[in-house]
Amino acid sequence: MNGIHDMGGMDGFGPVQRETNEPVFHEPWEGRVFAMNISGVGRPPSTIDAGRHGIERLDPARYLASSYYERWLARMEEAIVAGGALSRDEIEAKIKEFSANRDLPVPRREDPAAAEQISLLLRTGNPVTRTILRKPRFAVGDRVMTRNLNPHGHTRLPRYTRGKHGVITAHHGAHVFPDTNAHGLGENPQHLYTVRISARELWGDTAETNECVLIDLWESYLANDSSGTKPPPPRGPAKAKSAKSKASSRSRESSRVQSKSIRKKAR
């Protein structure tokens, strides 16, 4: 979906601000929400792709106004309510209870075997590589064109990389296909490739000549590059000049023009 989450290349956010000695979680609730998400409690079995799509589907204004773990909390609550384990009314009533009595503890239930099991799962993970019979359509070095796909559902083809010329730099075997897996439509594993797309191709002639994005794309996101000759690096007027230094000073100039930061929650 062409959602607010698809941020690559957007302007207006301002400088990257880093925190020194940052804690893993800034508040205890962030850790609890993170862990409840990871353990999948209260929800029907789900996939990582469906989980990501849950965050993408949050209202855009809410997405922007929320911190990272607030988005996880919202996604988790949606899934728990949709799965029927809890109702909104129950949750709201419990919030009232807790806000009326701050000392009320969260009840505990212990399950040591399950705790051991989760430790094992964290250590082993969930590989998404699959064996398929279909031969890969592309090989390392092939020139490809990313397709201009705009599905309303989940996809891992960001807007800024659509309809671009690129070169295959690696083939990673077949991986579960997020676009169907997120919607319960099956894993449909496809060959996965790393595609190198030059900054000039992505952002035009003012981009640096010696920069690129490397992105992992599934086979159905890609088409043969039929334009033939010499697509990826510099195209357009700047190519004729091949003036590397000019290009880089121009770009440094433009990067100095910093847009003002939209002030919002930092995390």
Partner: protein, 207 residues
């Protein structure tokens, strides 16, 4: 530390935020219905608060600096080489290690969400998940690196890895100069989190 301890206790005297209340309510209800085991949640929190973190990645990097054969294996099959040192798991199932050199600088991001190699770096810092970083690093990486204090010479090629699949990327930073006599443990102490994401060089400011 569980949440109720922190409220009753003396660590967080201020009132609970709405999110904290909501999280607490959901956890309590799931426990009451027998759907959640509190120690499972504790275990996950503890794992990422106290155990898994950038020290693991630093060991991988320092080992690669000291052992050329290991470095070759690491660059060829990151997952297997990292598992040799006992690291791996969720969000590191398919590891790719990319090497910085005097001519090539790699930096990692995830523009669509915040994918990050948990088993070697722990959970991502806020800036990595920020809209600012996700929006800008693919578009004006040199400017972003400069803001982070890393001035790359113009002739260095800059490669930005956008983690769109379940492959997870770890940058193998350059070994700092004048470190010949150092032990692997001493070297690991120079490997910052930020240098393994690619917004800093190893051996400089702390991550």
């Amino acid at each position: 530390m569980s949440e109720q301890q922190s409220e009753k206790g003396h660590h967080h005297p201020r009132p609970l935020s709405l999110s904290a209340l909501r999280a607490k309510a959901i956890e309590a209800l799931l426990v009451e219905k027998g759907l959640l085991a509190s120690d499972v949640i504790d275990r996950i929190v503890e794992t990422y608060e106290n155990d898994v973190g950038p020290l693991y990645g630093a060991k991988v990097v320092a080992h690669a600096w000291c052992d050329p054969d290991y470095k070759r294996r690491l660059l060829r099959d990151g997952t297997a080489a990292i598992a040799e040192l006992g690291f791996g798991g969720v969000q590191g199932e398919h590891m790719q290690v990319v090497e910085n050199t005097p001519r090539i600088h790699n930096v990692v991001c995830c523009t669509l969400c915040s994918c990050y190699p948990w088993p070697v770096l722990g959970l991502p810092p806020v800036w990595y998940k920020s809209f600012e970083y996700r929006a800008r690093i693919v578009r004006e990486p040199r400017a972003v690196l400069q803001e982070c204090g890393l001035d790359l010479p113009p002739n260095v090629e800059l490669r930005v890895w956008d983690s769109s699949s379940e492959l997870r990327y770890l940058v193998l930073p350059e070994r700092p100069p004048d470190t010949e006599g150092m032990s692997e443990a001493e070297l690991a102490a120079l490997v910052t989190r930020d240098s393994m994401i690619g917004i800093a060089k190893a051996g400089r400011a702390k991550g």
